[in-house]
Symmetry: C2
Subunit: 191 residues, 2 copies
């Protein structure tokens, strides 16, 4: 059986804690939905922020909702180097020891002592698909992308299984560009 | 036999024709050497230019010398998208049908009708190493990079053999970042 999965390229984005949302946008402010994402309940918000590093800043960064327990900034390595931040490759949610930055919104700014990460490539699977594919949560696989003149095989791809997931592989813009992606594509899980 | 090759990440850069060098820096101007590159006779110059696309510009781009027959701008896909240019993945020197841009220097500017490319990943080999590795000019191989938490295998890597080359694989910053590279690393040629 060929194990195919939709590959989505995640652009740089920010998740905000309720407290940081209030500081950046004002007390009681709520994010508004611009576009639902593939993962159920997740959305790109209309609101945007500026992320500031020691060397440079990047304006107009998308916020993904809903709010989360902790603020997290997901950049590509290209972005992180450009703003002068030494961010580690980590799984979403695992921000301990990650990089600091300043976030600026229309009503205020926050200095986060950690939270800037380069997202580790991963695949969201429903329990049913994980069973069908013979894969388990936290398993590490290889995924082949073949999209013309920049074919490649990603190693170190983490499987994540949860009932409220939709099947999708997430990579960042550096990884999507290294594979020459332009729009939706399917990858093949190899091992 | 393990076929190992040094992997170098090429940052965005420009090669200039004698005519465009004269327009950008003044008649009779000659590039000055900042740093020799791994390929014999090639160097990063002290001089820099700004590359302008329809959406944005990137300042302070390195010029690689010596001058070449035709002007060529090598960007990452991240760069090309950011300035709004639809550049194709092509081998260096093969600029036919590639993207246009404006280049601005201290003494003038040029509008090149084509010349912006995303460099196709490739390996420079001396004839002796090609023989030792059992590889031929123009052959396409896979190369495995294993640098911690972003291991991957690049497909579509073109072998280039010439007596005046030094052994080195060249990838761009998107590709280097997708592999989590930070400094020099060796890749393994797989097939």
């Amino acid at each position: 059986m060929e194990r195919k999965v939709l590959v989505e390229v995640s652009a740089r984005h920010v998740h905000l804690s309720p407290k940081d949302l209030a500081t950046l946008f004002g007390e009681g402010y709520e994010l508004t939905v611009k576009k639902p994402l593939s993962q159920p309940g997740q959305y790109a918000a209309n609101e945007r922020v500026t992320v500031v590093g020691p060397r440079k800043e990047i304006a107009n960064i998308s916020i993904l909702g809903p709010v989360r327990k902790e603020t997290q900034v997901e950049l590509s390595l290209t972005d992180a180097r450009s703003i002068g931040v030494l961010a580690p490759v980590k799984e979403s949610g695992d921000i301990k020891g990650s990089a600091p930055c300043k976030i600026v919104g229309p009503k205020g700014e926050v200095l986060i002592p950690e939270g800037v990460i380069i997202a580790k490539r991963h695949i969201h699977l429903t329990p049913a698909t994980a069973l069908e594919f013979g894969l388990k949560d936290k398993q590490v696989v290889q995924v082949k992308l073949d999209n013309g003149d920049r074919s490649l095989i990603f190693g170190d791809v983490v499987i994540r299984v949860r009932a409220d997931f939709a099947n999708a592989m997430h990579i960042d813009t550096d990884e999507g560009n290294a594979a020459g992606l332009n729009g939706d594509v399917f990858g093949t899980i190899l091992s």
